[in-house]
Symmetry: C2
Subunit: 244 residues, 2 copies
DNA sequence: TTCTATTTATTGGTATGCCAATTTGATGCT
DNA sequence: AGCATCAAATTGGCATACCAATAAATAGAA
């Protein structure tokens, strides 16, 4: 695996900023200064700053300089957690917490069109259960449709992030096949139907509980599958918050 | 405002990929190909790809090529919402949904050490209420400590993201000063005390409701302040999900 | 003195060129 | 035929050089 140099430099800059406890809005050293300091070309430093910019730490102004957008390294706020460090269990727990509340919220904002689209996804899940590809995609879309129906773009974005994380998770690939081979999808389809029914009734508490139970069932399934030959499986499954 | 070229190119590449509906893992055109196509140097294309890499869309392998990491542009999943497009109300609603559930979850996982640190933050808020800087920082830390006490790094990360969004929000700067000048902080400190009390009791429902009520109060305060001379204020306050 | 216009320096933006890792496929041996 | 080896092409990694926007300094007019 190629360790991209700009990432190293970017992390070093972040560490450096965290150490100094600079105030938001203050000006940072120039690209040239960092280049000389790290003994690299300005190109790499520039790339590192692009990383920090995308991550939201800094703001770059041509001809002026680079400025801090917020306090770096607040003791409780971590940088982005690497995909490899997140286990399926931790991910599902986060989804359970977030999506159950989203379901409750959605019950109060969902429109007829939303309901209709969700129903179409369920029909798709039903008829195309044989196709892993299609039914899995329908699963994802069903959940995201619920998030979208809250009419809150941030809730949809967060929910999307968690699903993207799952797809990127190395361990998911393994679990994915095991789960798909088995017939759990029928159970989950029933869960989905229950959720949609609560949304139809505009029952916030019912929707919350239905979503919670659904993800609880997924967790249970996952747990049952943890009897595996992969020695790292258990530790991975339960990997949780690391020390700050 | 400087529109950074690499952002334009990056967005164009993303749009291009979404259009083609490529499968995950497939190989993308080379940097040189995109450079020629857009009529720019390879440098900007490379910077654009760094953006996509940070955002998690692609994986870059030296000497080999650039590969897709996941499905781009699923109909319901948007790209990241720009900070400028998010109003304080939408942000607070997202926090209310997320943080109230986090509080409920935290009530079951919080440790004595967590409780102690939260108490310290409240004491800081109390004694340093005169200092806007300090009390605001304590506010932030208090909320993030709750998220951290769930022992779930994703929940902490999402919560942190929302607070970072607030800090970056252009409208927040305006509201921020108005709120700080007034004496709402005392009320919010009471809210925080109520939340901590529920956490002490390990009462999940109580914690959920206390957090919900707290952010409801913040929303109310914000709404009261919306009587302003800024013509864009109202629209901004309620800007919500845009059409997909 | 003060304000303004202009020059100069600073700083990020972009392009070009060469280097290193990887892949590909041709070559020759078994 | 099959496989190992090596050379050439491909492709991203990095550095240098010059361009453009901004800010700072300075000279001149009111």
């Amino acid at each position: 695996m190629t360790e991209r140099l700009y990432r190293d430099i970017g992390e070093q800059i972040k560490a450096d900023l965290a150490q100094q406890e600079l105030a938001p809005g203050c000006k940072l050293p120039t690209e040239r200064a960092y280049a000389e300091r790290f003994g690299t070309s300005r190109t790499v430093v520039r790339e590192a700053f692009i990383m920090l910019e995308i991550e939201g730490w800094i703001e770059v102004r041509q001809g002026s300089g680079i400025y801090l957008r917020q306090r770096p390294g607040s003791p409780v706020s971590p940088q982005r957690v690497p995909d490899e460090d997140i286990g399926p269990f931790e991910l599902l727990q986060a989804r359970q917490v977030l999506e159950s509340s989203i379901a409750a919220c959605a019950a109060q904002t969902v429109t007829k069109q939303d309901i209709q689209q969700m129903q179409e996804m369920l029909d798709l899940e039903d008829t195309m259960m044989a196709s892993v590809e299609v039914s899995e995609d329908a699963d994802r879309r069903f959940h995201l449709l619920i998030a979208r129906s809250t009419q809150n773009s941030l809730l949809l974005e967060m929910c999307t992030q968690l699903w993207d994380r799952r797809d990127r998770s190395p361990m998911w690939q393994t679990l994915h096949k095991r789960i798909m081979d088995l017939s759990y999808r029928a159970n989950w389809l029933e869960d989905h139907r229950a959720i949609l029914n609560q949304l139809r009734k505009r029952d916030a508490q019912g929707a919350r509980q239905a979503m919670w139970q659904h993800l609880e069932n997924v967790k249970t399934t996952l747990f049952a599958l943890s009897d595996t030959d992969d020695p790292n499986f258990d530790g991975y499954l339960f990997s949780n918050l690391r020390a700050q």
